[in-house]
């Protein structure tokens, strides 16, 4: 350290240096504390779940008899994919459409503010409420000729995912510079073309990322599925019947007295996390590719 301090460039005082070090230490400690549970979770998942992973884990249904081989979680995986897939098909187009209304067409209207308010409220609603809602409206009344059904679960999940899609899509759409809209309008384009050919393509990467995150969220919800889809063991493609899903499978298995089945539950949990992780990575890759383009 040079001793060339002058009135113009005084040295940093010892007290400031100490305070700096203390703050850094505190922040590092907080980070570590926050990371510990996360690391523990991942560790446990891997430790307990990897044991269950095997070829048959992914290729057989949990139809196993009481004493023998319990089977895998194939039907659960397929069920999750089918139900979440349907929920995605419902929530994303509608969600983006609502976001477009909020940003492009309804900017000034009082109605848009009302919609925005309700969307905000919906993001805070506990997921079980969505399940109960669909239960009362669709399940109890046996709408569609069935009690519990896959498509009803998909609806519940869609309701859950909708506000997330709307919120993130709105943010992304607002990020599209207004100068682009102006340029397109000034060329003589009708507004819907401006939206379709300029705004949406520009916002596309962000919209995809936002949607994938909503999907990841939807994949992990248990409560709505409990009340709308219930449980099934066999693999079925019939969305109008009870189906198996990963969250419900985990829920059911984890309290089983047989260790082998508990292990299977961990394996299912790990699978679920893995699926969510893959979705997240895909979202990130898309975001990075679009930034570099």
């Amino acid at each position: 350290m040079s001793t060339g301090a002058s009135p113009l460039l005084p040295h940093v005082s010892g007290r400031r240096r100490r305070t700096d070090k203390i703050m850094r230490g505190l922040l590092a400690a907080a980070t570590v504390i926050a990371l510990i549970p996360l690391v523990l979770i991942i560790y446990y998942l891997l430790y307990k779940g990897l044991k269950a992973w095997s070829g048959s884990f992914f290729s057989t249904d949990p139809n196993g008899n009481f004493f023998g081989d319990p089977g895998g979680v194939r039907s659960a995986i397929f069920g999750t994919l089918e139900i979440v897939g349907l929920a995605t098909l419902i929530s994303i187009p509608i969600g983006i459409a609502v976001a477009l209304y909020l940003t492009e067409y309804g900017k000034d209207h009082w109605f848009a503010s009302v919609v925005r308010y309700f969307v905000d409220v919906m993001t805070g609603v506990p997921s079980i409420v969505f399940g109960l809602f669909i239960y009362i409206v669709l399940v109890v009344s046996h709408t569609g000729g069935s009690g519990f059904a896959g498509w009803k679960g998909a609806l519940a999940l869609a309701l859950l995912m909708l506000p997330i899609v709307i919120r993130s899509a709105e943010v992304v759409l607002l990020l599209v510079p207004n100068s682009l809209r102006e340029a397109a309008l000034a060329l003589g384009a009708p507004r819907w073309r401006v939206v379709w050919r300029v705004v949406l393509p520009t916002a596309r990467p962000g919209l995809i990322t936002g949607s994938l995150l909503a999907v990841a969220r939807g994949m992990g919800e248990t409560a709505p599925l409990l009340f709308t889809v219930s449980l099934a063991f066999g693999l079925t493609g019939n969305l109008n019947s009870q189906m198996n899903t990963l969250p419900v499978q985990i829920f059911t298995d984890i309290t089983n007295p047989r260790n082998v089945i508990v292990t299977r539950a961990w394996g299912a949990a790990l699978t679920l996390v893995a699926l969510v992780l893959i979705l997240n990575l895909v979202a990130r890759l898309i975001a990075r590719r679009s930034r570099m383009a």
Binding site: D108, L180, E182, L187, G188, A189, P190, V198, T202, R204
Partner: protein, 290 residues
Amino acid sequence: MIPPETTSKESDAKMSTAEGRSEQTDATPDRAALGARQGKGHSVLVKDLHAYYGQVHAVKGIDINFSPGEVTAIIGPSGCGKSTMVRCINRMHEEIPGARSEGEVKLDTLDVYDAGVDITAVRRLIGMVFQKPNPFPTMSIFDNVAAGLRLTGSRGDNLRERVHKALRAVGLWGEVKNRLSSAGGGLSGGQQQRLCIARTIAVEPEVILMDEPCSALDPVATLKVEELIDELKQRYTIVIVTHNMQQAGRVADSTVFMLDGEVIEHAPTEKLFTTPDDERTERYVTGKFG
């Protein structure tokens, strides 16, 4: 209703001779690619124009006659309403929430504020270039220039020719002809602005409005755009808003001085800068007030 614009008939003939020309003219605006003016050109007559942002009365009863085939500059201090006024001409002003305007803006004999008028048709005839170059980032250079044609649903197989012609007309052809499919955002500021101008003229408007088109550009790019404006006036009627008086001097045939939402003086540029009639114009151009 404003009748559809006629397309230039010599595009094909000019295309073949232009493409056979040598490379050295590729960087300069190609007058042949501009095409001929339709008739005497189109005048724009603004009559008793008022514009509001909510309660704020930004433009207070303006009357201006923009002569066909000329460049008219609008100068004035910040907030005097020059951009607002210009945006009323192609009805972009009303896109701002809470904004409205009233009065008459006549393109030749047709009032763009008439009840049954199709706004998109107005904007096809009156093009606009903005202060900050705004090429569409997701589109290639070619697609950017073609955007105007595609966005307005114009049909036609001569899309490629019209795009090439527009790029030639702005003097960008030589610089981009080998990378027409690369992203529109990968050009320098001056090139981007010329790309935006190409996009505007590809639609073949009759009038071009420019809102401080060189403010965001460096001096060399500015001069290139000014040179381009000089070429463009052979074909279009041009209105340019500028806060740079020297630019008005270099580029404009006649100049309008605005203050607080009103037109103070409208005169041939030379006269406005050597012997202005109004005391306020004199004070503004000599810098006695900002």
